[in-house]
Amino acid sequence: MSSPKPATSGSSGKDETGGATPFPTRAKRSGRGGAPLLFLAPALLVVFAVLIFPILFSLFVSTWNWPLSEGLGPRVFVGMGNYLTLFTDSEFWNSLRLQLGFVFIALPIELILGYAAALLLNREFFGAGFVRTLLLLPVFFLPVLSGIIWRFMLQPRYGPLAQILVALGIPETSWLGTPGWAYAAVILQDIWRMWPFMFMLIYAGLSNIPGELLEAAEIDGARYWQRVRIIITPLLTPTIMTALLLRLIDALRIFSEVFAMTEGGPGTATLLFSLYANKQAFTYMKVGMASAMAIFLLVLSVVFALTLVRRNMSLEELERKAGN
């Protein structure tokens, strides 16, 4: 990373006299309260227009029986009614169950694969850099295209993956047409796409562990697995927690891949949370109910996002590192 520093040697003395206010002369004249606001105003405006206002509006709509268009009937205030209806709605519980199952099956597998690959690839071998870079391609693969290609690969009769399975002696199956298999396929798609994400973060954490530490342990007679268990894993735990939280927040809102792959079907077998909210709004045309779901997921995500933020006070960390 680039950290340009001017060659002038007199600057450090000026910094000390500046103390808490970095720009004493001008800052006082322009008014310290006004200047940051000037720089932050555009961002605040955007955040208000496309984030805060829509959230407040969703909150408002979620207390109404609000049909998608006016021709579909009147809007009626129902208070907490939509939320109460949700909790008695079997399709809601189904989507929540599928969503949580998805997260709790996919993430541990992604973590294990990512960790194993990071340990394996954390050394020099022929083509190491090449492998490490290309492994990341699926992470940036268009989510919707990933869903489409998996759908294609699993088509009976001509799908490449389906054909491989047949060649392995597994009877011809309509993988995406069978509820259990479709759900497994959706999870497999996510594992395929996202374990390299875990790998990427854990590998970066692994390369930050000082080599001397591991060499010292080796000299002391620690075997490879002892080193992994006693030194590497504890040192990597913060990185792993961060990677898991980032993945968790992302996995909770999965939509495009599944929409392209199965559209939530067959039936409601892969109707994950966001897909069901989308269906409530644009198929059942119950925008109030969909908004209640939107708020529910929002609260859940914010809880995890706050956990992540509290664990990583990165703003101060950044400044300490930069020495500013």
Binding site: M1, S2, S3, P4, S11, A20, P22, F23, R26, P36, F39, A43, V47, L51, F53, P54, I55, S58, V61, L121, R123, F125, F126, G127, V131, T133, L134, L135, L137, P138, F140, L142, V144, L145, I148, W192, P196, F197, M200, L214, T242, F255, S256, E263, F273, S274, A277, N278, F282, S291, A294, L297, L298, S301, L308, N312, L315, L318, E319, N324
Partner: protein
Amino acid sequence: MKRNRPIVNIAIAVAAFLVLIVELFPIGITLLNGFRRDVIILSAKPFEFSQLSLRSYELVLARPGFVKSLWTSVEVGLLSTAASIIVAAMAAYGISRFRFKGRNLLAYSFLVFRMLPQISLVIALYLMFKSLGIRDTVFGLTLAHTSFNVPYVIWLLLPFFTAVDKSYEEAAMVDGCTRFGVFRRVFLPIVSPGLVVGAVFAFINSWNEFLYALILTGINARTAPVSINSLIGSDILTWGQVCAGGTILLLPIFIFTVSMQRFLIRGVSAGGVKG
């Protein structure tokens, strides 16, 4: 970092390449099937690549809707990138260069905003855009894309911004430059590498985005990901065209992954990882 015996090295290289082959299989399927005709794809010989042709490319590029959606994707991507970079650079400067009340709270709320589920916003945005008459417009979709790109780019830029020594700006201030002049003429040139990284990531975010484009656009401002998804789902099976179109959509991703190697980790974890 480790000294292995050659045989171990070879074993690891072989294992690594096997894993890589599995990981790249679906991508390879996309690339190869773009050069196979639909008739051949449906003929139940998925690994026969004898009659490769550009027919699927011709067909998909002959669809006026697809080509238009590609341009819309580029347009929305560039506009939302430009808007996000300007807005986020100013905000990141404000956060990294001033001490004010609520500064931490503000910075962290941007971090939380970048993690909100899209479905939570899209329904309200749909209603808002419809009543404002900006549904199915490039402007509306661009605005929607700034909702994830602005908070994201702020946190991507912060490490670049805090790393710049303050004495450059101090010198310019002493010379009588205004605060905004310093930002524009002194600070931005220094952090231009960061701005490039931020812009590239913002563009890719926008390029890959599907849900907003699906809900907030119709025929006029439909983007390529929506357009390619609409190729399937009917009873007409056009996988060759889907793969050809998909390959076109993947080109920026290939260039991006290879050229941004050094910044990929920072990009996916912007603000989420210490230091």
